[in-house]
Amino acid sequence: MAIMMPAADQAVLSRRSEIVAALRAIVPGEGVIDSAAEMLAYESDGLTAYRQPPMVVVLPDTTEQVSQVLKYCHARGIKVVPRGSGTSLSGGALPLADGVLLGLGKFKRIREIDFDNRVVVTEPGVTNLAISQAVAHAGFYYAPDPSSQIACSIGGNVAENSGGVHCLKYGMTTNNVLGCEFVLMNGEVLRIGGKSAENAGYDIMGIITGSEGLLGVITEITVRILQKPETARALMVGFAEVEAAGECVARIIGAGIIPGGMEMMDKPAIHAAEAFVHAGYPLDVEALLIIELDGPSIEVDELIRRVETIAQGCGSTSCQISSSEAERNLFWAGRKAAFPAVGRISPDYLCMDGTIPRGALPKALARIRELSEKYQLGVANVFHAGDGNLHPLILYDANKPGEMARAEAFGADILRCCVELGGVLTGEHGVGIEKRDLMPEMFSEIDLNQQQRLKCAFDPQGLLNPGKVFPTLHRCAELGRVHVHGGKLAFSDIPRF
């Protein structure tokens, strides 16, 4: 394992049977799993290259049980890793050898659907898609749509601030959640917000969203729901040059059009997807854009015309416009199956997730090609073009000695390149363990210390999901110290108050 996790606490491990018994007293029946065979199911999340069985798995089904489990662990200095459906691609739910894995899978109930206030109050283990399904009969849906939406839990979505194809127009998770109930590491249960558009005080909901399970355990969430657009149509546009496709994206946005989704695939991704789903993708192009417009028919028709004109102006070599739902879904089928499609042409692949300014796309793709040469590994690119979120898929074979390490080094270089181009390490998959050690590429020690101080406000002992997000762990007391520069001020001639 290339990424080091915090050393296991032998004192905790030596008390394992006592801990298991105590957890059984809190969560009776099948809610505590301690057999090696059964715990195998929890040893990794979507980042399967990293595996680690936990000390014990606990699956509470009430907030009170979550609170008791955390209180018990807090009092005894036992680490806890929260987990939703385990679909994280960055290792956010990777267990710790000396940690309790706290699964929220039993929190499966939608508690309230309130159409008048346009919200759903749900438990965190409910899947993303199930929320949309529960309100579909009234024409509503929950907008963020990560590709894993049939499996991923809404609690995990909040922890990771999940995005999806439609977040260009409708926002990420953070723009679509209003409130939650969550439990601090010491067992304290807090409620934030509710059905109002804004909460009083500091935006604690905003900071919990995307905190990757390091600040608290969410036990209830209130999400906004929207009315489904009347219709949606898609264009599938081919380009002989990646640069032309990039220019097309910029011009569409520049013309004031925010499509429901705007995706790009490069040649290797197009070929892999076409071989897999036969969506009718053109095979002679270097880049393919799928652009979806949604809204009333009258608006969609007009915008389709405008986008088509822009695409032609950028030298598109092919342009198909969906004329039915079936055709629109077919356009998407290849893009949505891009990951498994690439899985068919390579024994293993690593999915990266950097974001760059849209305008830097041609530069980024050129750099990725160079790196592909350097590392002698293939790469296929799919790209949320509308918001600059790149997903290079690095192809490798874990059975060949050294290839995985090479793939990881390749991936790290891609992310460094994203930061150099003015972008960021992760657009939607999270830092987790995967990008943890790259955080200094983007943040200084001062930046990271400020983030870790915030962690201290929630979990001063650092027991909740340690080893994720931050490359170095500091003690809270040390982080909280104010260095008084008094008496020896760097610029003593500056007037002071």
Binding site: N117, A197, E230, Q451, L454, I494, R496
Partner: protein
């Protein structure tokens, strides 16, 4: 008063470090246009960011703009307006309510976090702040977020900075998302509905697929013949309920017609368009019915945020109990209340009702005396208040920045 005009982030760092050494709290201002909101602060040491006012970069095709925190909001708005873009959250110009001059700075806009009518569709200030450089109460400059619209790298400290009233860190440079301006707008007007019926009509509209981007209600008591800004609405004898549809012209017109049909049970619908509609929503955003220079200029003003579908009943009850006037935005989820002056701005009457409805209330306008006596910001339950205080300390343990502005009795 000791005013230190800073020119860069290093100046701010020095000012904060000096303040730590001298155990001297600092008031942080841009143009000072919102100083009269919040508890009076016990400091005469001011850090003035108005000279930190450059536009660092504006990239319309990337939908982002990076500016220094002291940049004037009005200037930045004209700059993006020239490229047919806007801040989609419609920042409130508080000068109308407060009787101050100018709409202040970008830093002030983020610090107060007050969004206008489009919040129901496009989100608030917090949803558009993508990245920031700021100086914490440790005297250290840090950055958070980035210059791209999609980013989950590290904690999203931008959310905390938005609406923190300058208590966590001094922002020096910020990156905001900008959005294309709609090509056309239509506003439907329903007349004569009482607050509860209007709330139902707005709920129906917001639950429709017609993508409503503004839903407001003005009871007739809030409509005064002298209010020029709202004159285009016509006769002030009757309450008006307003529903805005924006987009390309054909779409806005189509949706306006469809929504008018759907709202038929609530009465006849009139339509206003484009420039007229724009001026009405701009007046509503800035709460002109309660303007400082208007008939109710001497009355304290509360801003209530509540679950939208309960707004009508809540506003009616608050108006009845306080003898005040109310106007509704966000489909009922935002209620502005002007109350006849009393020493406590009728805190108990307002907050009692609001809490029962699951909302919260901020005292946006009141005399300094009242703001010393009443919690300006809605008190939080114990556990959450404690957590918020720990969060504040994680940025500013010596309580240097805007000490006492948010919490009564903590100024010294």
């Amino acid at each position: 008063m000791d005013i230190r005009k800073v020119r860069d982030a290093a100046d701010v760092e020095q000012a904060v470090r000096a303040a730590i050494a001298a155990e001297q709290p600092l008031e942080i201002i841009g143009h000072g246009s919102r100083r009269e909101i919040g508890h009076p602060m016990a400091t005469n040491a001011v850090v003035d960011l108005s000279a930190l006012n450059a536009v660092v970069s504006y990239e319309p095709n990337e939908l982002i703009i990076t500016v220094e925190a002291g940049a004037p909001l009005a200037d930045v708005q004209s700059l993006i307006d020239a490229r047919n873009q806007q801040f989609a959250f419609e920042p409130v110009d508080t000068s109308v309510l407060l009787g101050t001059k100018g709409s202040g700075t970008i830093g002030g806009m983020i610090g107060v976090g007050l969004a206008g009518s489009r919040r129901i569709k496009s989100g608030g200030v917090r949803d558009h702040l993508l990245g920031a450089h700021a100086v914490s109460g440790f005297g250290d400059s840090f950055k958070t977020g980035g210059k791209v619209v999609k980013n989950v790298t590290g904690y999203d400290l931008c959310k905390l900075l938005s609406g923190s009233w300058g208590t966590l860190a001094v922002m020096t440079e910020v990156t905001l998302k900008v959005m294309p301006k709609p090509e056309a707008e239509r506003t439907l007007i329903l007349r004569g509905l009482d607050d509860v019926a209007a709330n139902r009509a707005m709920t129906a509209a917001l639950g429709s697929p017609f993508d409503v981007s503004g839903a407001a209600h003005l009871p007739n008591s809030a409509l005064r013949p002298t209010d020029a800004a709202l004159a285009p609405l016509g006769a002030p004898e009757q309450a008006v309920t307003l529903l805005r549809l924006e987009g390309i012209a054909a779409s806005a017109a189509h949706r306006a017609a469809s929504l008018a049909k759907a709202l038929a049970p609530y009465g006849a619908v009139e339509t206003i368009e484009d420039a007229v509609s724009l001026s009405i929503w701009s007046a509503l955003r800035d709460v002109t019915p309660f303007a400082a220079n208007g008939a109710l200029g001497a009355w304290p003003v509360w801003r209530i945020v509540c679950p939208p579908a309960s707004g009508g009943a809540l506003g009616q009850a608050v108006a009845r109990e306080t003898g005040g006037d109310v106007i509704y935005d966000w489909g009922g989820g935002l209620i502005w209340v002007a109350v006849p002056p009393k020493a406590d701005a009728q805190r108990a009457q307002v907050r009692g009702r609001v809490e029962a409805a699951g909302g919260h209330a901020t005292l946006i306008r009141a005399s300094e005396e009242v703001r010393r006596a009443v919690d300006v910001f809605h008190p939080q339950p114990r556990g959450l208040a404690d957590l918020s205080e720990r969060v504040r300390q994680s940025f500013d343990p010596k309580n240097i920045l805007n000490r006492g502005r948010l919490t009564r009795g903590t100024a010294s």
